[in-house]
Symmetry: C2
Subunit: 134 residues, 2 copies
Amino acid sequence: MDTETTMKELHELECWELLRSREFGRLAYHLLDEVHIAPINYAVDGNRLIFRTTEGSKLLGIVMHQDVAFEIDDVEADHAWSVIARGKARVLEGDEAREIGLERVNTWVAKDRFVLVAMEVTEVTGRRYALLDG
Amino acid sequence: MDTETTMKELHELECWELLRSREFGRLAYHLLDEVHIAPINYAVDGNRLIFRTTEGSKLLGIVMHQDVAFEIDDVEADHAWSVIARGKARVLEGDEAREIGLERVNTWVAKDRFVLVAMEVTEVTGRRYALLDG
């Protein structure tokens, strides 16, 4: 049916609930003049998202430009939702890193990711959609 | 098991095959000084990805900064893959837009998206991962 979609903005609390219910999303970040995107595991810590990465990874472009965006979504047969967070990311060092601990982030891939990055979320929005028939 | 992951780079042809097999991904783009990310339907046309959007959408920030990145992925119980494309996007107008046609892009949400955007893909990379136990 080519009818109008039902789209609903999610409340900020729902967005955080969805963020806490997942551990995989996509991070968009600046690298010099370019925008890059990478699939990544994460964990929620208060109003921050925590990532693990490696020395020398492109993701460390955030050291030069902290502005990042992050997305999770889910698509089912008749509905979908997505949550988008924006904020500032920075590498955690020393006590800050130890306080979180690498094991906080359940990385599905290589465990040799010894750099923790925290994204301070300044804005989170979400939408739920009833999907149209193809 | 906390063993090393098996990660495999996908061949460019595999990446395009995966891109052609899907119709939903995430687009990262510049908006003034910020990086934004949005879930979006797409279609493959040659070496281009085609999107539909609306007048006044934030996505039209691409008019000012064409550099974009796009990602699709799939996560199963014991493996995952992702494909990342980078390139330049621009709004299609006149004959170029008519040649493609709105119906080329199967939008799951509102059909009132009358602006076609083409992303000329300049680089595509993909990875397949065998996932570690949680």
